[in-house]
Symmetry: C2
Subunit: 335 residues, 2 copies
């Protein structure tokens, strides 16, 4: 099948749909038993699950260090991970354009299977719709994810207090710059790969330290600034960030300077922001730095109070400005 | 907001995304608490869950008796229901085209909220991506669903045996004909509404009878024929259907005769196929017929053996032909 193209017939629910499902998806995701039912039937322990969804419209589909399949798995694994869950099961909903090469679809599906394996996650249910040529840029993927929240480890945003450390697990904005470069737009020329990766293995290490983690979020669409503003507003915390402490690679700084963007709004796809009890910050930092993904982790700020939710950015010279959600849009779009 | 159009800025993760999320989605789905986290955190009992996903690309978005939002909720509720689960939680992933009227989006989201309520299902997590004008026909919706499989009620396809009854909960193909009519293509003129509805309330009634249900499936894309072939092949059952016993409305028969289609391949979106122990068939039929959705339910065939999975269609004159999955496609496409 791999020399072929996806056709509208593949979306009709008949013999060709069945063949595509079996040869491309079931063989790679290994959910032969589940695919006999309209829904996968799965064991969970009593307690709480985490449930999330994200649709991926990455353009181009293949970026240095990342493709839409890898991103679709990592993105949802990460949403579960930062919500305090152990990622367990994913669903995958594909919308595929007529004429899309089956070979490219296989590359994408292989990347999904490989990325899922890193976190011990199973892709247990899927769906495929085929749409007309020239509409969606090849393929759109939705993933939804179920994780299990272990009662012995949970996040406690309500316990956030003055002095808590704000940690970021590594340099921000790599994904945004890699996408800009892959588009060949605006003269961005760089070999910087996207940071796209699954955060669960790294966060598992942090959890094993027993540190009191108040909250986590991954700074994707909207960047670090938006992630921090959301934490501040949703849980009534005043956060102060030291501008100089935020890790940013020279390539990202360079692109932002030339194009007039603020890297605080640039998406990462393999970074976590952690709010951690003051006393536990050193061991969290150490645990992060012992992993490949977290080796450039840094404390970037503190919780300075509760009440009105806001984020302040303190410059090297000591001046403070309020950080807001992204207003309007940064061009070009990268989601 | 309702006089406005969706713009690319609504997809950037910033202030406008936040506003769209809050005013259109959170206010209607009522998941304010869950939306503070990257994943909703939900209680489940110990045991098994059902997990499924489906992406909806309905065109046009509004059809007699159905819109893409109602369909997106009913479709996933139905996949959970026929898998033996009590539907509990849904996620909703929207891809919206630049320029799409917020008013239409609100109509769609209202339909989703109303449909979810019929089964007591909560929409607890969502995502929105905005794509360029003129690409996806307005909006594409993915829903994933989690249901809980009650241990005291389960399906047992392995127990299928000769004599088991095959029941369909009502006339087939209404949805396909309603979509054809809404497209104004091929001269199909009819007021027949889509049968789009959530099956859970009806199936709950059937379950309360305590009948031994072997298996259920909803005959959507690919129609009744494909649903039966999948059951036969997946669980090694020989199924014989009485052609005259399959309920089909005159409007659907008429469209198929004129256009040369086979209604057995026409999608329904509010019907269930049930395989039921022979002795329990009468009370299942009675329970179905006591509901509005199931009042035209009928026994359409029997399991005639185990082993090679196949479906036979017996005509009024007693001849038998083998029923296959849809080969190629029926034009026009209706998914």
């Amino acid at each position: 099948m791999s020399s072929q193209q996806v056709s509208l017939e593949h979306g009709e629910g008949g013999e060709l749909s069945h063949k595509l499902l079996r040869e491309v998806f079931v063989s790679r995701f290994g959910h032969a038993e589940e695919s006999k039912w309209d829904a996968a039937r799965l064991a969970v322990p009593e307690g709480r699950i985490a449930l999330t969804t994200d649709t991926f419209t990455l353009q181009p589909l293949f970026v240095n260090g990342c493709n839409i399949g890898k991103l679709a798995v990592a993105g949802t694994v990460n949403d579960l991970t930062v919500s305090g869950a152990v990622p367990r099961y994913l669903t995958a909903g594909f919308v595929i354009e007529e004429g899309f090469p089956v070979r490219d679809l296989v590359t994408i599906v292989d990347a999904m299977a490989a990325e899922a394996q890193k976190s011990g996650v199973r892709i247990v249910a899927g769906d495929t719709k085929i749409v007309k040529r020239g509409t969606i840029g090849g393929v759109i993927i939705n993933t939804a994810g179920v994780g299990v929240i272990p009662p012995e480890f949970d996040l406690h945003p309500e316990a956030m207090r003055e002095g808590d450390a704000v940690i970021v697990s590594g340099p921000i904005g790599d994904h945004a710059v890699a996408v800009l470069a892959a588009r060949g737009e605006l003269g961005v020329m760089t070999d910087l790969p996207s940071d796209c990766t699954s955060l669960y293995p790294m966060i598992r290490r942090v959890r094993e330290t027993g540190a009191a983690i108040r909250f986590m979020r991954d700074p994707t669409r909207g960047g670090l600034a938006t992630a921090l503003v959301e934490i501040a507003e949703d849980f009534g915390a005043e956060i102060e960030i030291e501008q100089e402490a935020v890790p940013i690679r020279p390539e990202v700084e360079g692109v932002c300077e030339i194009l007039g963007y603020d890297p605080l709004y640039f998406a990462s796809e393999g970074k976590a922001v952690l709010i951690v009890a003051e006393a536990d910050a050193p061991r969290v930092l150490q645990a992060l730095r012992e992993t490949e993904e977290g080796k450039e982790a840094a404390v970037i700020g503190r919780i300075v109070g509760r009440g009105e939710g806001k984020v302040l950015l303190k410059s090297a010279l000591g001046s403070r400005r309020r950080v807001l959600r992204l207003q309007g849009m940064q061009l070009p779009r990268i989601c």
